[in-house]
Amino acid sequence: MVIAVVAGIAPPTAAVTAPEVDVSDTPYDWGESLTINWIPSGPPDSIDHYEIWRRAGWAMLPAPIGQAHSSSFARIIREAGWHLAGTASATDTVFIDSGLSSDSSYVYLVAAYGKRSIRISQPTRPARPRRQYLDTRHTNILLATILFISAVVFFVERARRGANLFIRRIAGLEAIEEAVGRATEMGRPILYVPGLEAMDEVATVAAIDILGQVAKKAGEYGTRLLVPNRDPIVMAVAQQVVRESFSAVGKPHMFRSQDVFYVTFSQFGFAAAVAGLMMRERPATNFFMGRFYAESLVLAETGNATGAIQIAGTDADAQLPFFISACDYTLIGEELYAGSVYLSRQPLLLGALKAQDYAKALIIGAVFGVVLLYLISPEIAELVRKAFG
């Protein structure tokens, strides 16, 4: 599929040939693009750029093109019903033409602009963009998701039928009752920071879930709960959760909207405000739950300096060492997500937690299995790795 139409105003200085072009459907899209590949017409320094021309339907190369000069090429080909799809640099060999319709077929040709000449390919065979309903690159994730959802549903159903599901003891969560009690005895408030992220972060959702349980305990003991927020949506949700928790233990009058308040969106402005709050109000217990960044140590060290009992929980692995060194208890990674379940002991939630444990066991088994397989037969292990992406 090669035609070399020399239409230059002077002989070419390097070995520039007509590009060999092929067109195929772009994978993993909704039938809106085609991928055009070509073999380079020569060394990149002999080519200025490529032009990719498109025509709907079937087409031959217009006859007069053979005699065209570079200046008249565009005019002649446009008159023949072709449209410029785009341009590519001398080093490119692929062009994705998007914005197409899956109801039409398209042909392409590529014009290689040399320093002094043009070489034009033959039109490609007609190609039609095809719609893909499933992004097969994510098949492994899809299978894992289905497996995991099935496990969650299975264990939730088991829990619903009254099965006894064991959860290991988590010291940080066991200490919550003691921490709230301590604040009550000292007559000081509890400080709860639900992280710095917005409500679309799962860690924040987990922090709010734990806040509900902490607020219930604070309500039972009649202890004031302070919740400074960096995000206004988190503040609104936290207000609702604290209000409902106080109501659930028969203390709706304890809720004060001023105690669940917005501070600032600025990261270190927030850290400064919360640190100041700790120094002024001297809370007996500090909770830092959710996603934290560099300010984690500012908060935890200030709390440590005030002598408060501190319980932290985060999924930010970079902040864990700071919390571990400055707090009395730290929920590490997944323990944060288990917090609400652990405290509420709701059977349905326990079921989901159990599924999580089994999935982890499966992953650990898979890691050991693959390591063993690599030791026994690296070739087979490599095949397995490729099969799972």
């Binding site: 309903y133 994510h138 879930d209 509900g212 959760v241 909207s257 140590l297 500012v298 997944e334 609400s340």
Partner: protein, 213 residues
């Protein structure tokens, strides 16, 4: 309906987000982009909520003469000055960028620089070699720190006839035991996130709606 409405909404949007990840279908991509756009719009409005909360908090503090109530005047004055500067002189020139560059940025930098002192105090506590674990942490920490500074490149020793530098030991500590522990944590976090998301989408977890029992 007060609680069912949000659960239905969470289920619908959650399933939409899940499905759009696995299919290139145009409808799902459009819906995904529209939701992301709406998120930005909603976020803009929530700052009104946040500002109102801030004003009310400090107004209450001033009116009840709580401890250090005078500082609330500073906060409210700062808020009013910044808003006025942005509305009257716009944000590109005038007092607004001056306030940002000469007040907010230095204050944030000051808070950030305090980290150096907090790291020192936290390290002192963590590295006190009282237990076997703390001693192990101290040794690993010292090796990694020495391996990260220029002098570490000149310090090397011989183990069973093999010459090993502090840089190599430092890299090994970071890339093998440290990376293994971090990946273990990240796998747990990933599963925890997925489980929490599934619980919310299926309506099993409702604490974020205020249900605590």
């Amino acid at each position: 309906m007060k609680r069912q409405g949000p659960i239905i909404l969470a289920f619908t949007i959650g399933m939409l987000m899940l499905v759009q990840f696995f299919t290139p279908a145009a409808f799902f991509k459009q819906a995904y982009n529209i939701i992301l756009d709406w998120k930005q719009v909603v976020l803009g409005f929530t700052f009104i909520l946040g500002t109102w909360s801030l004003i009310r908090y400090h107004y209450t503090k001033i009116s009840r003469r709580r401890e250090n109530w005078q500082y609330s005047y500073v906060t409210l004055a700062g808020l009013a000055a910044t808003v006025t500067a942005a509305l009257v002189w716009k944000t590109a020139t005038g007092p607004y960028p001056w306030l940002f560059n000469n007040v907010q940025v230095p204050m944030q930098s000051t808070m950030f620089s305090l980290l150096a002192f907090f790291v020192a105090s936290a390290s002192y506590r963590a590295f006190r070699a009282r237990t076997f674990h703390a001693t192990l942490l101290l040794i690993a920490g010292a090796l990694v720190m020495l391996g990260r500074v220029p002098i570490g490149a000149y310090l090397s020793g011989s183990v069973f006839g093999v010459k090993i530098s502090l840089v190599e030991i430092s890299d090994w500590v970071l890339n093998v035991p440290n990376a293994a522990a971090k990946r273990g944590i990240m796998i747990g976090v990933g599963l925890g996130m997925t489980a929490t998301a599934i619980k919310i989408v299926l309506g099993i977890e409702q604490t974020y709606l205020g249900k605590t029992d």
